[in-house]
Symmetry: C2
């Protein structure tokens, strides 16, 4: 299991390579939320999402010999870009298995970072099986998107930064709202905060109809989503909570929060107007919960992670063209 | 005159109040520019532009008695918001003289920060005269947007950060492309860099038809713009270079760079796609020059300041809807 020592080691390996993303705020958002809102802008991380942290951690932890043979990953897009760039910067090759319906921008970027892209059908095929088969046949190391201790350690580095930045802002007790797919970011940040900022508690956030983590936390066991159809929040749609990540979430997380697609689009528009950052739908569920689900949150301040910014312009236009409410 | 001691003092007074904005980059932008491009994201500063630095510096330098009587400023928008928020945070009042045709968002924000807004006609009235008259009548301190040593010192704090962040990125020799209106940011950053990073040289950037600084630098004297009609780049349209700022630019700046409105919109779209930040047109002229005027720049790296992000959605949509080129 990942622990704080591994998270600190991942931060050390990432020094000079990971970007320390800012913790942003706006009095206008505070007013909407009814409390201070601090936004960790992971959309400003290299490749436009926190996933670069986990990818860098995993690649940098491999022995030079194993790394030189190349890596493989499957991803709806952000893990893909993270692994592709981390592989390129380590001078090795990457194969990325991506769903055919992933945002065009993410597929194009993954190729542009030098990776070989293999497309699959999200509805009918099992990406884990495809990934394992190619890995075995070609001698590549499979880097799973969340059920992978070194990836979780890498995501946890964001938690170390949050603890420091929140303390600088005078916040030591607050919920930390985290967009949650497989739970790698939530688990990594929760493990980091447990060790360095125990007054900060992770709460996973999900879009309606894809709230497997919130339901699983209530039920005390891993439950699946009823649908895997395409969601506006594609980046955080996974079949069910991770095998490694879920026990961490059970032990350390507060209740899940669930938001609507309209909440998400409004949060994206407010991030445009007030923070000057681009958040993709899946990356905006935490901010959406902070702004529009305040009754389910306690305390004078709330922290949320804006976990990614890789959104096609057409979707972003939908957010900007919402009527003022 | 402003000197490095005053800039360092402004940074000290701003500790815990000014946001240290990140220096961003993307391999995709490097490829377009043909060299490394480092982007100082001042659009992420409080109030969405670097102007908060100068406003905080000026307000915090006043004696408590003078400050308590209130301040007044004139501005097309970003200085307005900076002074309004800095006044509010210092517990004093602000009157802001703004052009009637300033972006709706900037006028609304200035009022929302608690300031009293007085509108004037950009074509027919002299904002300096209006500001001075109200200041005298009501006993307020006028905080000029650029011809004001404490404001220039505040803007210079961005230069101190650039010097440190560029050195961390391994860049010690480069041009620093800065959106230029009255020249407060260019002058402040140039004075900071002269002292702490002499290998970095400021080059002011302007939109076509509003290139008073570029022409003035060539002519060796302050020249006016032929027109003061509304520009896409409203934030950096001023009648002519500043009285205090221009001699600094003459001594320290390289030649000015001039970009088209289409360059600006394309730079905004690329910042959306590759950096995940919102840049307003006037704030994007430096990035536009870095990306599309590379032949006028030397060196293996270039730094540019994205000076503000306060753009109405309608204008931003124009950038996103540009045909791919």
């Amino acid at each position: 299991m990942t622990d704080i020592t591994q998270i600190r080691a991942a931060a050390e390996r990432g020094r000079g390579h990971l970007r320390r993303t800012p913790l942003l705020s706006s009095p206008f958002l505070d007013e909407i939320a009814g409390r201070r809102v601090l936004v960790k802008a992971e959309c400003l991380q290299h490749t436009g999402s926190f996933k670069f942290r986990g990818a860098w951690s995993a690649l940098s932890a491999l022995s030079p010999e194993v790394r030189a043979r190349g890596v493989i990953a499957y991803s709806s897009g952000n893990h893909a870009q993270g692994v592709a760039l981390a592989a390129k910067l380590h001078g090795t090759s990457a194969v990325i298995v991506m769903p055919k319906d992933a945002p065009a921008l993410k597929i194009a970027n993954t190729r542009a970072y030098g990776a070989e892209v293999v497309l699959y059908d999200r509805a009918g095929e099992d990406r884990d099986a495809i990934g394992q088969e190619i890995a075995t046949r070609r001698g590549l190391t499979l880097i799973r998107p969340y059920d992978e201790p070194m990836v979780i350690a890498g995501q946890g580095t964001s938690g170390l930064e949050i603890a420091e930045q929140a303390a600088e802002a005078g916040v030591t007790r607050a919920d930390v709202l985290i967009p949650c797919g497989g739970g790698g970011l939530s688990a990594g940040v929760a493990l980091a905060l447990e060790a360095v900022a125990p007054g900060l508690r992770v709460r996973p956030c999900e879009p309606q109809n894809y709230d497997d983590t919130a339901r699983s936390l209530r039920a005390g066991e891993r439950l699946s989503n009823a649908t895997m159809a395409t969601s506006l929040c594609d980046a955080i749609v996974t079949p069910m909570p991770g095998q490694i990540t879920f026990p961490v979430q059970q032990r350390l997380s507060g209740p899940g929060l669930v938001v609507t697609e309209e909440d998400v689009l409004r949060a994206m528009a407010l991030a445009f107007q007030r923070l000057k950052i681009i958040i993709e739908p899946g990356g905006a569920v935490g901010l959406a919960a902070a702004l529009f689900h305040g009754a389910e949150i306690a305390g004078e301040a709330v922290i949320c992670i804006a976990s990614g910014g890789n959104v096609d312009p057409e979707i972003f236009l939908r957010a900007l063209q919402l009527p003022e409410s």
